[in-house]
């Protein structure tokens, strides 16, 4: 079966000239649909950089990165925007729009899809918020929600568009143990139902048991654990 993410010998550096700093040094990995992959590793090893290349947020120039059939190496911004619309992003900070309610925040994902009617958008967003346990808080704004609730809203926002891939960078870092584990469990449960691929960077060893596979990144190279 064609892997959903296929990375061959990816190199990536920051800076230029004498100041060039290689961060990813020849990464090769394939990830299948529905897999839940956790990435760990020491600080500065390049986990975030790797995730942003996979997500089409940074342009890489050597090797091969094929995501959902689109080659990202030397690709156009337009091509990457198209793929990004099929990816759900979950950030370390919740990054919700603070002037919008939970429902409106989640609907933002669906507003890019012009096939849906306003009512369908509302229904799907409400259903997704209910699935993450916030059915009674859909009209709350972010500053009226707790940290764990906000992160659950951002999980709902990432999943409501039925993405093929979810990329999450330390989603539990700002949460306590209980909330962090709960958020990741919800994410796993919803992802398994829809066979969504998840790539999740974490330092949090308490959540490693949700993974199908764990990658360890060290100094820009993958050491399969």
């Amino acid at each position: 079966m064609q892997p959903i993410i296929d990375v061959q010998n990816l190199n990536f550096s920051f800076g230029s000239g004498a100041l060039v700093q290689p961060v990813l040094k020849g990464i090769t990995i394939s990830i299948q649909q529905g897999e839940i992959v956790l990435i760990t590793g020491p600080s500065g090893s390049g986990k975030t950089t790797f995730l942003s290349v996979i997500g089409g947020l940074r342009q890489a120039y050597t090797g091969s990165v094929v995501v959902l059939g689109q080659q990202f190496i030397r690709s156009s911004e337009q091509a990457r925007v198209k793929v990004r619309q099929q990816i759900g992003f979950i950030f370390q900070q919740h990054n919700l729009l603070k002037s919008l309610t939970a429902l409106q925040n989640v609907s933002m994902t669906l507003e890019m899809n012009s096939q849906l009617s306003e009512q369908q958008r509302q229904e799907r967003a409400t259903a997704m918020l209910t699935a993450v346990g916030l059915g009674d808080k859909i009209h709350y704004k972010p500053d009226q929600l707790s940290g764990g609730q906000r992160q659950r809203v951002s999980i709902a926002r990432a999943l409501v568009g039925q993405p093929k891939i979810v990329l999450a960078d330390e989603p539990t870092a700002s949460l306590d143990k209980q909330n962090g584990y709960e958020a990741v469990s919800i994410l796993k449960k919803l992802a398994k139902e829809s066979r969504t691929t998840i790539l999740l960077v974490t330092h949090d060893y308490r959540i490693l048991d949700v993974a199908d596979r764990i990658l360890e990144l060290e100094d820009g190279l993958i050491r399969t654990a």
């Binding site: 997500g55 992003f89 950030f91 603070k98 933002m108």
Partner: protein, 389 residues
């Protein structure tokens, strides 16, 4: 549906972000409102000036008008010989000619006895020199010695003349010469005169005994119906000597308006005020949009990561600018409207709110917000989704 969403979604997001912070929204609206009112007042005063500058000539009833070449404006005329006007009768297209005499004179308030200067017009009561019915109805009465008509649009400092006439207290003095006010008409004040009085040519000479019927200020020429004003004007220019200017009705209005617009720096001053209002509004709206983009940088970067395009954010910024323009214009228009009424009732300046004026101010405000948006969108570059993880 797609095209509606293309505009509607960014507009809706802009709206939600604007109303989220009430204080900032109020400040922004006040900024636009301020610019709006400033521009409205500048245009209002300027137009009032132009309108009042022409309140006398606009009411003159003639086809062509004669003035001395050195007359800068009607309110400060240079006298010329009546014989010059009579020579115009030599042209077969000229049906009739009438002299008009003008003079500034102190008018005594009947109640307070305080004197204040107004403009006195003397005309031939056998002619219809004015397009004002109230004057034409009283032409016979004005032939009586020492009778005048008073402009009820004069400033109130001259006294409640209408009430006084009704109470039979209609005697007063102009230049210390006793006259009876036998009626009212409506013409309007100008920057040159706070009030107007119309009387017959003979009564005019009684008020101004040093003046002489042979030396006139303005000549009114009436043409035979159907003759071409511009053609006859050209013929008369050949016929008359070079000491006088001949104007058509429209030219006279322009001449009077241009006097205030150019000779006096008033046109420039109001134009400058309008531009200043525009610039101040521009800076305020730009500041608001700029800080808004800065504050929403992370949110915009997040949306960009999710797959929103740059064009979407540009539309959000312009939608914010448009909303601010509209939200500021509406109260600005209302405030300007009541200030216009205040000006009309308190300083007796004609300040009509015309559709043309409202439209041009709206256009100015829209252009102001558009350009503020144009400068502000450069700031959108700072929202880089690569920094979001």
């Amino acid at each position: 549906m797609n095209y509606i969403n293309w505009l509607y979604f960014p507009l809706r997001l802009a709206w939600r972000q604007l109303i989220f912070d009430h204080t900032k929204l109020m400040v922004a609206i006040c900024g636009v409102l301020f610019a709006c009112v400033l521009v409205f007042m500048q245009l209002g005063f300027r137009d009032a000036l132009y309108a009042s500058a022409t309140s006398a000539p606009v009411n003159l009833d003639g086809d062509l008008f004669l003035m001395h070449k050195q007359s800068e404006a009607m309110w400060r005329p240079i006298e010329f010989n009546r014989s010059e006007l009579m020579r115009a009768l030599g042209n077969p297209a000229v049906a009739d000619v009438f002299p008009l005499y003008l003079g500034l004179a102190p008018f005594k308030n009947i109640e307070t006895r305080v004197k204040r200067t107004l403009m006195v017009y003397g005309f031939d009561p056998d002619s219809s020199s004015f397009r004002i019915e109230a004057i034409n109805n009283k032409r016979e009465a004005l032939k009586l010695k020492d009778t005048v008509l008073f402009d009820e649009y004069s400033r109130p400092e001259f006294g409640p003349i209408g009430n006084l006439i009704a109470a039979n207290r209609n005697l007063t003095e102009i230049r210390d010469y006793s006259v009876a006010i036998i009626g009212l008409f409506r013409m309007g004040v100008s920057f040159a005169a706070d009030g107007n009085v119309v009387t017959s040519d003979l009564n005019f000479m009684r008020i101004f005994p040093e003046r002489n019927l042979e030396h006139i200020d303005v000549g009114i020429i009436k043409l035979v119906p159907g003759s071409s004003q511009t053609y006859v004007k050209g013929e008369l220019e050949k016929l008359l000597d070079e000491s006088t200017n001949i104007f058509t009705y429209e030219e006279l209005l322009h001449f009077e308006r241009d006097y205030w617009a150019n000779m006096a720096p008033i046109g420039f001053i109001f134009g400058f005020g309008t531009i200043m209002g525009w610039v101040v509004g521009l800076v305020i709206v730009y500041q608001i949009l700029f800080t808004d983009i800065t504050n929403h940088r992370n949110e915009f970067a997040t949306l960009k990561a999710m797959g929103y395009s740059q064009g979407y954010f540009i539309r959000v910024v312009f939608a914010s600018a448009l909303l601010l323009a509209i939200l500021g214009f509406i109260p600005g228009f209302m405030l300007a409207l009541s200030l216009y009424h205040l000006a009309e009732s308190q300083i007796f300046m004609p300040m009509p709110m015309t559709a043309a004026k409202a439209t041009s101010v709206l256009m100015l405000i829209l252009s102001m917000c558009f350009i503020a948006g144009l400068i502000a969108i450069r700031k959108l570059k700072d929202a880089d989704p690569a920094d979001m993880f």
